[in-house]
């Protein structure tokens, strides 16, 4: 067959709004995917990219309907097939790998049953060989012990394993094309890198066409030949991966690239202010006009067409010739470096935290469950004005430590000291108001940390009344002042959180913390619930506030590039134990702890010319080992039994950089330099 595998022609999809008007979520999408090609669809949340991927299978979520256009898969119109015909194609010639496999696998069916179901429906394999074939498929997606996994239930697998099962299931029908809907979102960096390599290999080996939907340009860079950029339900740009990621012609694509923090650059990413129009709000002009640096009158009155440029890319913009005016590389602010004055802001001494508490029933039966502490042996000193980054994968205990400092989770042992010598009570209820005010916490998800039933005024009022006793006009003025400082105006006071965008909500959360005039602000994954363009704005805001107030931050994130953008010093955690701590530049350079090395190697840069280095496997551990090095099970540089039996020593380098490993610093340096040379 010579035609495209997937041919999407002028597709518009919409729903009926409360007012009765038809609101489009996809507008006039034209897209072709050639045999064996790998196409990336990029966009922020709400851009319609997932809807498009599902529409390619002839499937629309409840409430949505096809307004116009057609979708053809290998010449068959997907929206005019009968149910039986669709059932043959879906999962057979055209397979989907969903975003959240944990929820996409039926919880009451064993993995084997679900895999065999796919084989029975879509493959020529005779029934007697199903089990063998299923085992083989699980082996192909590099799952250890496939035989055992067949009899497991989905909840008994880790996120990475579930995702691999989803891949195996998609491969069961020997598909012509694979649709991938954010297949690695929510996974740890190392797991993500492993899954992506697997997908790359599979696509290359089998010559399958792939449509890869993601918000993550790093992942797209790794897997795709060609990229389509979506914005507010339309395609705004299309080109080869190199074109889109190196020098895109559309101002939105440029803004998006500039907003991604990168490991190699010390600048803060550039924020892309504003938010995309809601469905139906796009108006007559260009949908990006409100956020565009190049916008002119023409852009407001007329909607640009997707036009081909001499270079071969397509862009929906009148002024592609001026695109260079929009920065695509880092030219954002330099992170403020407040010279730490040497005074201690916060000190953690031999901190340990345990989540497990025996239940009433356990007590009655007289059981005691001696477990290894969730977090253990944390010794960290944070100096005033300094930003300490805490990085690690999920389960590394980084958020747990913040909760403990905030007094929400009493530690099992150790000491938390504020300033020089003020010991902090372990439980928040026992702390004096002054201690409470000086430490403030910003949470990951503003949807959860802002009370949905309070207006912004009520939210900001609380610290102001509590700590400063403000009332009346003074309270109002101060609230407006604080909102101004986070670049929201006083007119936000009467709004409810649900009337704000994600980025605005997080700014309110930041404003609430700073309303207390704190010395230390604990930031718990504050940008991970946000789109990249919004994330950059929040990072910028935190940086600015630090400059103005000289605040000390403890900044927790799983994203190494985000941590690097803001931190003076970085601590790397694995399974609740410190592996490495030191000045940011040192930690991100060699020599480093083997775990840091694994983490850094797995980071995906939005650059088609880079590739991750996969060192350790991506097994997720549920609990730390009882003795020895916490990283013993996964370490690519394991020495031998000593790693299993003895707690590794700290090796100090002269400049306050310390690595906890049985290897000598010089050995690590030599080994890592050798690897870099390869």
């Amino acid at each position: 067959m010579t035609g495209p595998v997937l041919d999407i022609r002028d597709v518009s999809v919409g729903f009926t709004g409360k007012s009765g008007a038809t609101l489009p979520v996809l507008r006039n999408i034209d897209l072709q995917v050639a045999e064996g090609e790998s196409l990336g669809i990029v966009g922020e949340s709400g851009s319609g990219k997932s809807t498009l991927a599902l529409a390619a299978m002839g499937y629309l979520k409840r409430g949505l309907r096809l307004l116009d256009g057609s979708v053809a898969f290998r010449g068959q119109d997907m929206f005019s097939r009968t149910r039986q015909e669709l059932e043959k194609i879906r999962g057979g010639e055209l397979a989907l790998i969903p975003q959240n496999s944990g929820q996409s696998l039926t919880p009451t069916l064993r993995i084997g049953a679900q895999l065999i179901e796919a084989l029975r429906l879509h493959s020529a394999v005779p029934g007697a060989e199903h089990v063998a074939k299923a085992t083989e498929l699980l082996g192909q997606v590099r799952l250890p012990d496939p035989q055992a996994i067949l009899s497991r239930f989905p909840h008994e697998l880790s996120g990475g394993q579930q995702q691999r099962v989803a891949v195996a299931m998609a491969l069961a029908g020997e598909p012509h094309a694979l649709l991938l809907d954010e297949p690695t979102t929510g996974l740890d960096v190392t797991t993500q890198a492993h899954i992506l390599e697997l997908l790359r290999d599979i696509a290359r080996d089998r010559g399958m066409a792939m449509v890869y939907v993601s918000h993550d340009l790093g992942a797209i860079a790794r897997v795709c030949d060609r990229v389509v950029v979506m914005y507010a339900g339309e395609v705004v740009m299309e080109g080869t991966t190199r074109q889109v990621l190196k020098s895109p012609a559309h101002p939105y694509a440029r803004g998006l690239l500039a907003s991604i923090p990168r490991l190699a650059d010390r600048h803060l990413p550039v924020a892309l202010d504003g938010r995309p129009p809601a469905p139906g709000d796009a108006g007559d002009g260009c949908s990006f006009v409100d956020r565009c640096a190049l916008a002119q009158d023409l852009c407001r009155s007329q909607r640009p067409d997707l036009t081909a440029l001499p270079t071969g890319e397509l862009a929906r913009c009148f002024f592609t010739d001026q695109a260079d005016r929009v920065s695509r590389t880092m030219s954002g602010a330099v992170p403020v470096e407040i010279k730490p004055d040497g005074a201690t802001a916060l000190q953690l001494t031999d901190l340990s935290i345990s989540y497990h508490q025996p239940s009433l029933f356990d007590r009655v039966l007289g059981r005691s469950d001696a477990r290894v502490a969730t977090v253990d042996e944390i010794d960290v000193t944070v100096r005033r004005g300094e930003t300490l980054g805490l990085v690690g994968e999920s389960g590394s205990g980084k958020s747990t430590i913040l909760k403990s400092i905030a007094g929400l989770l009493p530690p099992a042992g150790g000491q938390i000291t504020l300033a020089q010598s003020e010991a902090l009570a372990t439980v928040v209820e026992n702390r004096p108001p002054d201690h409470l005010r000086r430490i403030q916490l910003v949470f990951q998800n503003p949807d959860d940390s802002l009370n949905p039933r309070q207006t912004i005024a009520e939210i900001l009022e609380q610290p102001l009344r509590l700590y400063f006793g403000l009332t009346g006009q003074a309270l109002h003025d101060r609230s407006v002042e604080i909102l101004d400082r986070v670049r929201l105006g006083g007119h936000y006071l009467d709004r409810l959180p649900s009337q704000l965008s994600g980025g605005e909500k997080q700014r309110v959360a930041v404003a609430r913390a700073f309303a207390a005039d704190p010395e230390i602000v604990l930031c718990d994954e504050v940008t991970s619930a946000l789109d990249v363009s919004v994330q950059a704005a929040v990072l910028d805001l935190l940086n600015e506030l630090k400059e103005k107030q000289g605040t000390t931050y403890i900044f927790v994130s799983h994203d190494l590039a985000v941590v690097k953008a803001l931190s003076d010093r970085v601590a790397v955690l694995y399974q609740g134990r410190l592996c490495e701590i030191g000045p940011s530049d040192q930690v991100y350079a060699t020599p480093s702890h083997p775990y840091t090395e694994v983490l850094l190697g797995a980071v995906l840069e939005p650059d088609p010319d880079t590739a991750p280095t996969l060192a350790a496997d991506d097994v997720v551990e549920l609990s730390p080992p009882a003795q020895g090095c916490p990283f013993q099970r996964r370490c690519p540089r394991k020495i031998g039994p000593i790693c299993d039996s003895e707690t590794p020593p700290w090796h100090q380098t002269a400049d306050g950089h310390a690595i906890r490993c049985h290897h000598a610093i010089t050995d690590l340096a030599a080994a890592q330099a050798g690897q870099a040379a390869e």
Partner: protein, 295 residues
Amino acid sequence: MSVASVPNENTRLARFLSVLRDVMARPSGAVGLTLVMAHLLLAIISPLIVPYDYKAMNSAMMLTGPEAAHWLGTDHLGRDVFTRVLLGGREALLVTGIATPIAVTWGGFVGIFFGLVGGRIDEVMMRVVDAFLSLPWILKMLVLIVTFGTGIEVLIPTLAFFYGIPVIRIARAATHDVVARDFVSAARARGHRRITIIRRELLPNVLDTLMVEGAMRWSWMLLAFSSLSFLGFGVSPPTPDWGLMIADARGFMSFAPWGVLGPVIALSSLIIGINLTADALAKALGIDRAQKAPV
């Protein structure tokens, strides 16, 4: 009121109005709320509009069928059924109308309190609540009524007490949901007093659930009240009450079936009205009422 909080009053009123609009926009809400409002109005004005004295007996006119003078006929004592149907819900509405808010309030507070305290005390309290729930309502009610009498002064506290117990469970579950959210942790970390956290963070979020719960309790309470009357343990004659009227008329059903129809329709329409309203309210507030057991 401070300057900053003036607009909030507007927001609250606006929210109330928008929920009301949402309820009225649903067929179940429109029908239900109309029924409830009609019943409430009737309960207030019925003494002024009834055609006869409800206790006036007439031995010459016993169990007559519907006719111009007696729209729903007369009962076995010759009393006008239409008059008695119009008046028959007043006692029930009065008792349940007072007992429901009391039940929801005390059950709500206790539930929120134990939801917050958590731990062992909470676990023990829930066993006590379970124990209370494991006894059928009718048994608990009857024992008290038989001992202390059937007056309003007994019925209201009895109903309010027993119907508050299931509310504890609901309020506790709703509290657990809210407490797990970060805005409560944020308030704790700021160091607010517990009472402030309850008032400002918890209550507004639990109140939705309690409102729907209140509507449900009201309907179960009406059901209990009229069942008690039916069994002869509720309103004492000659006071007109639907449950009692149905019980009386049942004996003559074979030759005077119209006697039961009036009170049956009146009682059913009120309870159905409340339930339809509760359903629409739950949907408007985004709560799935059907997922809950009646306990």
